[in-house]
Amino acid sequence: METFRVLVIDDEPGMRLGAERVLRSYVVPLPDQETEVAFVLSAAGSGEEGLEMIRSTPPDILLLDHKLPGIQGLDLLDIVARDHRDILTVMITAYASIETAISATKRGAFDFLAKPFTPDELRAVLHKTAKHLVLQRRAAQLAREKRQVRFQFISVLAHELKAPLAAVEGYVRLLQKGLIPPGSPGYDQAVDRSLERLDGMRKLILDLLDLTRIESGQGRREMVAVDLGESARRAVEGMQAVAAQRGISISVEGDPSLPMTADPSEIDMILNNLVTNAVKYNREGGEVTVRLRAEGSKAVLAVSDTGIGMAPEEVGRLFGEFARIKNDKTRGIAGSGLGLSIVKKLSALYGGDVKVESSPNVGTTFTVTLERGNEESTP
């Protein structure tokens, strides 16, 4: 339940009392917004008195008589429109004069009400005004929250970009001070680590560009016939060398050919992210399995590893931006923290989703479901 303050400015005492009586027990139901609105009324008999009240305690809604002694309704409207932009004004006009109504609307009134009006007409206009006000405030609230989320994202991003810079700077300063001379054991480590951190930073920037492009819906999407089987084999091939270094084997199982309509670069991004993760978070000598199958109009793509796995509470945070799981087992594993966020957003573009099953020290399976589009028949 929300309560809006209504101020009636009218020189006729009967009008003020009537409005009070009608609105005192009136509640506007707004089921779409899951709320209802009640009104608290105050009244002023002149523009001057009304203005004073507006300045001391601004109402949400103003019922303003057009014809007043002293300061005129339209002049008061100008002041309200200028100084109190969040007040919605309903102009009360003495005649059903369309000119006055248009003029008032042009000068910032939200609506008008022609005298004489029935209680129902008053309720109707208040209903409309209250609804508008609620929607307007919800929209403003959403915009605020969006700005807040964006601010947090940028703060974390700035931090994530500063961290590798600080690491590289630290090594360069050590070199500068001559604390790790060439040929000493620390020298190679310093150079290798610097290059690794710079590489990680580059990956973050590229992921960030991918993510921004997906979110903005900008950039050309090239929808063509894609064979998921082929894409999977290509992704696996790309990771083979890195996997082999740690004795990890990767295999592709299920439908050898799974056609769908997609942007090939997006499919590659999904597969590369998942296969890379499956290798990165695996144990020495572990296995990665990519399984493909058609399920009606959908393509189901599951990537399993035999790695460190996750606890249920870790799974819950997994898809957030920069949400990297930090524990003993993930120490020393580099990542931008954006990969799964990208996978999730891309899957949504194909009317699909991502599911995770994981148990600690056993492994994790990511299952992505994608609508195959009009490429439904297998050739």
């Binding site: 974390v156 630290g170 050590l174 310093a190 930090k326 120490r331």
Partner: protein, 131 residues
């Protein structure tokens, strides 16, 4: 008379920062005990008494540094602790020592925000060790 060599415990899961700090401290004449996790740091504290501890706040636990700092203070009340923290972390934890209340809760003698310049850290070390 030559000063006895002081030992500093460095606990940080950031491999680069830990390596760099250890090298810098070593060059400045300190002996360094380096730990890459809260667990390793606890083990080191069991077996030796450092003259000072420099602790990262977020390691395997969100509050690893705070826990360690309590452990250091309980076991060795005179050993000064410097907490090193990321202002913006995954969780947005922010530690501030500006009020007395916060100082009593966070048992640390100094809190520095990352990225920390070694010169800045060295000033704190000298102040707290009175060297």
């Amino acid at each position: 008379m030559a000063e006895e060599q002081k030992t500093i415990l460095v606990a940080d899961d950031d491999e680069d920062f830990r390596t760099q700090l250890s090298l810098e401290l070593g060059a400045a004449g300190f002996r360094v005990l380096a730990a890459g996790s809260e667990k390793e740091a606890v083990a080191l504290l069991e077996s030796s008494r450092p003259d000072m501890a420099i602790l990262d706040v977020m390691m395997e636990n969100m509050d690893s540094g705070l826990i360690l700092s309590h452990k250091v203070k309980r076991r060795y009340p005179d050993v000064p602790v410097i907490l090193v923290t990321n202002v913006v972390g995954d969780t947005g934890v922010y530690i501030d020592l500006s009020t007395r209340d916060e100082r009593s809760w966070v048992q640390a003698d100094a809190v520095l925000d990352k990225p920390v310049r070694f010169e800045q850290l060295q000033r704190e070390i000298k102040r707290l060790l009175k060297v």
